[in-house]
């Protein structure tokens, strides 16, 4: 799958410490590779959905960080990093 980032995601990524940044990019690449090898979007079902019926998923890249991703036209879109909306993980688990 191709990969694209929202501006917010790019800025959040650049603001991370170098090791976290590398982990996040690796996670994105792995996710895109898995998505390309499987049926379109199938792997995303295994990721934590933001809410019932939501097309956005949380993909962990470190003990404290998640990527908020979705797919659009065969592209994996990194929408945000969970630093921005970290509390949503907690909210969706309740």
């Amino acid at each position: 799958m191709r990969i694209a980032y929202s501006r917010e995601a790019m800025h959040a990524l650049l603001a991370l410490a170098a090791p976290e940044r590398a982990r996040a990019v690796d996670a994105v690449k792995l996710l895109a590779e898995a998505g390309a090898g499987a049926k379109a979007g199938a792997n995303f079902n295994e990721l934590l959905a933001l809410a019932d019926g939501s097309e956005f998923r949380l993909a962990p890249f470190s003990a404290t960080g998640d990527l908020v991703v979705t797919t659009a036209d065969g592209t994996l879109v990194v929408v945000a990093l969970s630093d921005v909306i970290g509390s949503l993980t907690e909210a969706t688990e309740q």
Binding site: R2, I3, A4, Y5, S6, R7, E8, M10, H11, L13, L14, A15, A17, A18, R21, V25, V28, L50, A51, S54, F56, V68, T70, A72, T75, V77, V79, A80, I85, S87, L88, A91, T92, Q94
Partner: protein, 302 residues
């Protein structure tokens, strides 16, 4: 109790005359729980709407750009190549020299804000999109440079205050020395190592403050003592003057001042105590105010 759909509930429905539900009563803990859930759902909806809005704006950036910037390439270069622009083209459009652009792209030089605005406009991005990836090593190096620059500036300020041509302000020197100690101590604490040269500077700053405090204390004691002795001399003079009219006393004062500050008296002991020249000889800095023909007003540092 059960609701209309047969589920068990503690909620009581109060109906109107037509049999339609009008009010619902429920135990307070359940009411609180409902409120909490509503807040969570509301927050989640707002967040999802915000994300959806972001995606809809389609401000998406391809990974080729993001990954290269993340890897450390300068955003100006990455975006220029992404837009298919040659360096000379971007330089011309942005109104800078190709050499200047090369220095920016290789992070050898920071561009001015105006230049970055012109580059961003030419590349069709926002200025903050041209911010390079943050590198902790670079940040630490920058922080160290800033701290050292501050320390050097304090040293230069103190040197200028002490040796410069402007008037000497002991309070300003003390304050700057205190800043210097604080900044140098902070620098050493942040890095946890031994910095003999910096410790030497801190020690000199401490000694400077001690010297100022000690000198000021001596000055205050001198001024207070002299004031007291002059008061005695003046009182003696008045006593000897008997019932001299006030206007005659006023005429006599300048004569006393021009006479080395001595009170006009036959009392040699009193004269010696009142002589500010003695104080001048000790410190070399203290002077009696009042040149020829000028009334003495106090003491100051030259």
């Amino acid at each position: 109790m059960s609701d209309d759909s047969g589920r068990e509930t503690t909620v009581q429905i109060i109906r109107d005359r037509a049999g339609e539900p009008a009010f619902a009563t429920l135990p307070y803990p359940e009411y609180e729980e409902l409120l909490n859930r509503a807040r969570r759902v509301s927050g989640l909806d707002a967040a999802i709407n915000a994300i959806q809005g972001e995606v809809n704006r389609l401000g998406l950036i391809p990974s080729e750009v993001v990954h290269r910037i993340v890897a450390g390439e300068h955003p100006v270069r990455v975006w220029r190549l992404h837009r298919g622009l040659k360096a000379v083209e971007l330089a011309r459009e942005a109104g800078i020299s190709p050499g200047g652009l090369a220095e920016i792209e290789t992070a050898k030089k920071d561009a001015s804000f105006d230049t970055m605005v012109r580059i961003a406009k030419t590349l069709g991005v926002k200025v903050d999109d041209l911010m390079p990836a943050i590198d902790e090593g670079v940040i630490e190096e920058h922080r160290r440079e800033v701290q050292l620059r501050d320390i050097a500036r304090r040293i230069s300020e103190i040197d200028s205050m002490i040796n410069g041509s402007k008037g000497f302000d002991s309070g300003a020197v003390r304050e700057t020395a205190q800043h210097l100690i604080s900044e140098a101590s902070s620098f050493m604490a942040d890095r946890g190592g031994r910095f003999d040269w910096l410790e030497g500077i801190v020690e000199k700053a401490r000694r400077t403050i001690e010297e100022i405090n000690s000198t000021e204390k001596a000055i205050m004691e001198t001024v207070t003592g002299t004031q007291s002795r002059l008061s005695e001399v003046f009182s003696d003079s008045l006593a000897r003057a008997g019932l001299f009219p006030r206007d005659m006393l006023a005429e006599n004062k300048p004569a006393a001042a021009s006479n080395g500050g001595r009170a006009d008296s036959a009392d040699d002991g009193a004269d010696a105590r009142a002589d500010p020249a003695g104080e001048e000889g000790e410190g070399g800095q203290l002077k009696a105010a009042g040149e020829e023909g000028e009334r003495p007003r106090g003491w100051f540092l030259r």
